[in-house]
């Protein structure tokens, strides 16, 4: 790990100012991705700005028809939150399936979505539940947040403050986990929401994507059978030591059917 200057600002404004003043500043949340990245020297920021003591980034609360999760809320807190478990159990179980207990005790929702790992779980919730992401500058619709492999719509120095998840009528997330890391080889969130049926897939492509044909089929008949014949093209799907593109395309169908069955049941 190269040397850097560590900052622990007490306000969001001070955090933004520290980032702006730095030659190459990086925010730190749970550090579960950032610290391994620094160790591997895949990143060498001049300054690391820890959000741990910035107020207003924690807590889970109900706001009207939505559950709002602060950017610094850890995976273990989402998994254990009575509010989340009551309103969106699919979100609690998604958080409970991330990595291992120690990763869940440190890693945050903000860090996970900003990192935008193609195999991360939370992107499926943000897009699948039709969430919106609030930053220190604006609000970004979940569908527009993830723009590519490890890429988001955030501008330089922009800080995520919270994520707002509209409460769905029913939803379920099912993933085929990598047996070692628990990252999603393929993960599918299926949700029946006020704005229609949503099917979001993580792990399979560069970035999370929706499957329109499944959404249409499920709108007429919310059952696993309704999407049995919806084929997902393997073009542009990920291919690596864990799974071929063809296998991933197959898994999208299997995980989606399991998610529909779980949501319907």
């Amino acid at each position: 790990m190269y040397a850097f200057n560590y900052h622990r600002p007490d306000t969001l404004e001070a955090a933004a100012a520290a980032l702006a003043a730095a030659e190459d500043g990086r925010v730190m949340a749970g550090g579960q991705t950032l610290i391994p990245t620094l160790k591997q020297r895949l990143a060498s920021p001049s300054d690391v700005v820890d959000l741990a003591t910035v107020p207003g980034l924690g807590g889970v609360r109900r706001e009207g028809d939505a559950i709002v999760v602060g950017a610094m809320v850890r995976h273990a807190e989402v998994a254990a939150s009575a509010e989340v478990r009551a309103a969106i159990p699919a979100l609690a179980s998604l958080a409970d399936g991330i990595g291992d207990p120690q990763v869940r005790n440190c890693g945050t929702i903000g860090g996970s979505i900003v990192n935008a790992d193609p195999a991360a779980d939370y992107p499926a919730a943000v897009v699948g539940l039709g969430a919106t992401v609030r930053t220190d500058r604006r609000t970004i619709v979940g569908d527009d947040f993830f723009t590519g492999l490890f890429e988001t719509a955030l501008d330089e120095g922009e800080i995520v403050v919270s994520v707002s998840f509209p409460v769905p009528r029913r939803a379920a997330y099912v993933k085929f986990p990598n047996p070692a890391s628990r990252y999603a080889v393929v993960g599918v969130m299926v949700a029946d929401t006020a704005s229609g049926i949503r099917v979001a897939v993580t792990g399979a492509g560069d970035s999370v994507f929706r499957v329109g044909a499944m959404e249409t089929a499920l709108a007429g008949n919310f059952s696993a059978d309704a999407i049995r014949n919806v084929a997902v093209s393997q073009d542009a799907l990920n291919e690596d030591i864990h799974a071929s593109a063809e296998y991933r395309a197959h898994l999208v169908g299997v995980m989606a059917r399991r998610a529909v069955a779980a949501a319907a049941g």
Partner: protein, 158 residues
């Protein structure tokens, strides 16, 4: 850049000068000489470095020392009281829960976080919980047995 950190480790107020990039596990092992916390992988996979920070189990190789400023830290050295092993440590000894012992401090610290949340876990819940702790020797069976026995002893059972 170097900074002073202070925290409470195993009930004792400690401070020391570290670099901004110094890991918590380095501070514990090198500054404080608490070498019970091991480094197995240094890539966040193995759990040999698990300690508790403010009551949560974390991988000390994936946290900066400065992030633990002002925190309550407990390491494996903080468990035994007056020369008497903690019931979870005793359970590992009784049930042959270790062979080389390299993974053991992390296993014990992780197990205690589980028992804190779930005092009477099933064997499946123990196995699930150990996702972040690797052991190259035991095949896990006796580790699970030890944790179940330790949890039982902590509940006041035999």
């Amino acid at each position: 850049m170097s900074v002073n950190v202070s925290m409470n480790v195993n009930g004792r107020a400690v401070c020391g000068e570290v670099e901004d990039r110094t890991l918590l596990v380095e501070f514990l092992r090198e500054n404080l000489r608490l070498t019970g916390t091991h480094v197995g992988c240094d890539t966040s996979q193995c759990g040999a470095c698990v300690v508790h920070v403010d009551g949560r189990s974390v991988k000390a190789c994936t946290m900066l020392a400065v992030q633990a400023e002002g925190a309550e830290v407990t390491t494996i050295e903080g468990l035994a009281q007056d020369g008497k092993l903690h019931p979870m440590q005793e359970a590992f000894r009784e049930n042959h829960g270790l062979q080389c012992g390299f993974c053991t401090p992390g296993m014990v610290m992780s197990a205690l976080d589980l028992v804190e949340r779930n005092p009477d876990p099933s064997s499946a819940e123990v196995r699930e919980w150990l996702e972040g702790n690797l052991c190259r020797c035991t095949g896990y069976h006796n580790i699970v047995k030890s944790i179940l026995a330790g949890a039982s002893a902590m509940r006041g059972g035999s």
